[in-house]
Symmetry: C2
Subunit: 339 residues, 2 copies
DNA sequence: TACGGATGTGTGAACGTGCACACAGTAGGA
DNA sequence: TCCTACTGTGTGCACGTTCACACATCCGTA
């Protein structure tokens, strides 16, 4: 159990000793204040001489601020594999935090053990705030955030959370309604949906929007429910729809990956897109432009989502009042060739 | 500039006061030691009463150990978009660190500003070690790791690093040689390569293996160099090869994404795969089974790579001697339909 | 001469921990 | 009776930093 001590590092004391001044003066050189020219020179020489590297962790303890913000990804397995947006959201958040000189640290939660450890980490004083992706209300993370009043922001808002934590997302229902309405307007009559991830707000809201757009013409039999947003689910979902109604001529897929899978199933069934069947996806991910034909889809401003989440944290850190708890970002619909 | 202080938290002192004992006794309850039954009971009651949450950061300062390991992704933009493996590597590393109760924190470096801040973070005492993906020798990260003797491990070994930092990777050259040899063995005569990311070890080693396999038959004119491992590069690279030699009948693509792009270009040129042209990819990513035909490719054990990188760090933290500096993991070749 | 302000420096305390040490009481054996 | 061992508790210090305060010097002005 006895682990080796890491090598001894130079501290402000060492610099002070080497330069023949006190720690206070060294601190003033590092952080600003009145210092004479010769003292400054001696100290700067001493710093390079002893190879001083400031211990930010000690500063964080004293200052009660680490200038670090956590990016917590729950269920990262499905996120990283099925959702091409998570990377962009991360990069968007990082870029925004970077401008404010804050360090983003990403934590993934795959197991219950992870969950507990991450909760400890968040409450341990290592970070000043947390961006949380795809949480549920009963997660210990939420508990920690509530108990410590840790500044936080959710990406997509869990339906089972009370309105106490700021969030950013997109209008899933509205976008779904918009693309579905367009399918109707272009003459599609038998319109189905491949709905996924109904246990998440994104999934259920997209289905709700689809349903709202069709109104009285909504037919529950033309909704294929699949677990995830991935390609394989798309293939299975489309096969199911074709089986239930061979005359189907329009499909709203809950993600681009699903749409790509659906195209595959349609190809194997001998249907051509968009002449026989019109299909729209969701995400505007890299899938959209790689399929044949290219997908009409809903553009997710992933980078902006990350950036806004970061801003929500930074605002709280500055003690500013948030004007609204939630922010929904616009989602332009991209019309390409598949519908 | 004056930021609000975070709400005051309960400390061991508060517990001690509430329970009528000294800090030392509280510490013994938390960390083990001789404590009387009534003292323990009083302290445990006090802990829940005042809502105590241990400050791990303070413990880390005192112990000089944070039990956290950084996962540094350089150039994450291309990594996350082009390289489907990075997510799996992360999850593999996290799982392994999790078993040892260490927290993995991922840091992305996109800009020079990021680079500097991450270097500061690594040297600030927040982490005990670092897993670094796709570094170059001149990166400040390397400097920091060297200066502080921070335990580290590289994923893939940069060609311009001296042998001082442990690494884990795959035998890119050997695998490339193996698949190329197979192309030859199945009767392909005009074999080209779409080579990418030649400034990284993975890219240059794959090209070297290809070259070695062909020996005297190697023709530099049949190598199309593209910048990244992505789909678009595959399309362009294949068009270039077809232009240079319309009789080309075998292609080694440096990644599955490139191979998928190449298939697209071959389709538009009216060539059929594998009858006219045989093609092999690299990565065994999700691409491989989504293309038509499915790709023969080199399987990258991404999860294991992450796990081994984590082990390399944990070994160093335990002060154990590493038997070898580098570890190359086996890469089974998956033969599907494209060659 | 005395005083106030600007400039420059040193000292002590604190952030929240964990550990070494000192000390006290009890019990057992030589 | 003394020495040792074990249990139980409190105090002081250290980790490396920053900040408040005290103090010291110099200059210009009343």
């Amino acid at each position: 159990m006895s682990r080796p001590q890491p090598p001894k590092r130079a501290t402000v004391h060492d610099i002070a000793a080497a330069a023949g001044v006190s720690r206070g003066t060294v601190s003033r050189v590092l952080n600003g204040g009145y210092v004479s020219a010769e003292a400054r020179a001696a100290i700067e020489a001493a710093i390079t001489e002893v190879g001083y590297v400031p211990n930010t962790a000690a500063r964080a303890l004293k200052m009660r601020r680490s200038e670090a913000v956590a990016f917590v990804a729950l269920e990262p397995h499905s996120l990283f594999l099925d959702d091409p947006n998570i990377g962009s959201i991360m990069l968007g958040a990082n870029a925004e935090l970077s401008l404010a000189d804050h360090q983003m640290v990403s934590l993934v939660v795959e197991s219950g053990r992870d969950m507990e450890r991450v909760a400890r980490y968040l409450s341990g004083g290592f970070v000043d705030g947390a961006i949380v992706v795809s949480a549920r209300a009963h997660d210990p993370i939420i508990q920690v955030i509530g108990d410590l009043r840790l500044p936080a922001a959710f990406v997509g808002h869990p339906p089972d959370l009370d309105g106490t934590i700021p969030y950013v997302g997109i209008d899933n229902a509205g976008s779904a309604r918009e693309v579905t309405t367009r399918l109707v307007a272009t003459g599609r009559r038998r319109i189905g949906m491949i709905a996924a991830a109904l246990d998440r707000d994104s999934g259920s809201d997209r289905l709700a929007g689809f349903r709202a757009a069709l109104g009285p013409h909504f037919d529950a039999g033309l909704v294929a429910e699949v677990p995830h947003y991935d390609y394989g689910s798309g293939v299975k979902g489309m096969r199911l729809l074709l089986e239930r109604d061979p005359a189907i001529d329009g499909v709203f897929a809950a993600s681009d990956a699903i749409a790509a899978g659906a195209l595959e199933a349609l190809r194997e069934a001998g249907r051509s897109v968009p002449s026989d069947v019109g299909i729209v996806g969701f995400d505007d991910s890299t899938w959209a432009v790689r399929t044949q034909p290219q997908l009409s889809t809903v553009h997710q401003p992933a980078k902006e989502i990350g950036a806004v989440a970061a801003q929500l944290i930074l605002h709280q850190l500055r003690g500013e009042q948030l004007e609204t708890l939630g922010r929904l970002l616009p989602t332009p619909v991209i019309w390409r060739d598949s519908a």
